[in-house]
Symmetry: C2
Subunit: 248 residues, 2 copies
């Protein structure tokens, strides 16, 4: 088929689909350590694009391995409720990683009150190359005490909470302070991950990943931030909240 | 906590995490039908952002329900290999939907040769409000015979294959031809989904979702298309392919 030869990164995927595997053995084990070891905690009601945006970019880094971890192995439900996911490893199995990426979502409230999880975040952070967050994942870094006195960003709805942890909130898309990189709401993780990809490798490699995922954004509207959205749009987002998947 | 009240769409998610559920009962059943019923087939080696970009946008539409379906219920492995997912329903359970969205990925080769799946795509297409694709998912629509004589788009690596199905390939981000909407590679599904959201509801609602997912893209580089990427970047993307997750 022409498609097989035309798609450079999918060349090996031309065989018939594999037999259905056992979901419990899919994904990386918690004990592997790759040349570039990226760890992303998942918890119930994680916001899927917070996770998958950066995952789609970072997994293509040469030598990279992405590990998803949870308090326990097992199923988690995403914030939108339709895409069942299975966490293959526990965070307690992780002693070290190069990149820690904390996503946001509906249960960040619980995570910022989970002393064991926050202690793990602090311990892992000591030896990371980069400690990063997307969306309200920044509140977890704040609750862990890692943002005190730092400029940082989060989802626009989390600005006040972020400041309560001693961070200086700024409505920027990606904010780097040394090895700590925070990003704004949901989709911003893609931009953050490209910045991170260049820091971990080089700009040509990061740009090649951008080309592969064809990230040449052309949104049909320009309402992606509070500064740009009209009053009607800002009113509508609160109305939508009443019947959002978070609340079903 | 301040965060809870500050995040309008996450207000209901302030409770402690639920006990671990059985993954086989998570997600929508194949038999439900919502006010706006969106169906997304998943297959082994699906490209995760092809799926999750549009899912993150469309799930917030009022009354929307997103159903993930596969040839069989059970686990599927994504193209990047680390995020085990469980398909909760089979496509044969779906008789009708408002929106059909076909993602791409490493096993599109198998899907374009799967006569049963293509017959199902054709049958469902007859009564959809919109039939859509992301990335090499467009090749599935092509193989099903739905793009003959139509202008359409796909991942830049799939252009030749798309033309082999009688479509006129154009390197645009989103292409609408009546009720058929195709989009370019991987990340383009976000832009497509916002266009679709406005068609299904209204522009203010689509813009409110854009604000909620804070889609104000600011990529650190401008290499997201073949027209913009340098020769060095185009060379690097082929090198990356040799050790990409698709080929591990």
């Amino acid at each position: 088929m022409a498609a097989a030869t035309a798609l450079p990164l999918a060349a090996a995927a031309t065989a018939a689909p594999a037999p259905q595997p056992d979901i419990r053995t899919l994904g990386s084990s918690g004990k592997e350590e790759a040349a570039m070891d990226i760890v992303i905690p998942l918890y119930d009601a994680y916001e899927p694009l917070d996770v998958v945006g950066p995952y789609e970019v970072l997994a293509y880094l040469p030598g990279a391995s992405v590990r998803f971890v949870g308090a326990e192995k097992g199923p988690v439900k995403d914030a939108l409720g339709s895409l069942p996911t299975y966490v293959p490893a526990t965070y307690s199995e992780v002693e070290h990683c190069d990149v820690l990426l904390i996503p946001g979502g509906g249960s960040v409230e619980a995570m910022v009150a989970d002393a064991d999880f926050l202690a793990w975040v602090r311990r892992i952070h000591r030896r990371t190359r980069f400690t990063t967050s997307v969306c309200t994942g920044s509140l977890v870094l704040g609750a862990a005490g890692l943002l005190k006195g730092l400029t940082a960003t989060t989802h626009w709805g989390g600005a006040e909470a972020l400041a309560s942890y001693g961070a200086v909130y700024t409505p920027q898309r990606t904010v780097r302070q040394g090895k700590v990189i925070t990003s704004a709401g949901v989709s911003s993780g893609i931009d953050m991950a490209l910045t991170l990809a260049a820091l971990l490798t080089d700009e040509v490699t990061a740009q090649a990943i951008q080309l592969w995922v064809e990230y040449d954004p052309q949104p049909p509207f320009d309402s992606g931030s509070l500064a740009k959205a009209s009053d009607a749009v800002q009113k509508r987002v609160f109305e939508l909240g009443k019947e959002s998947p978070h609340n079903r």
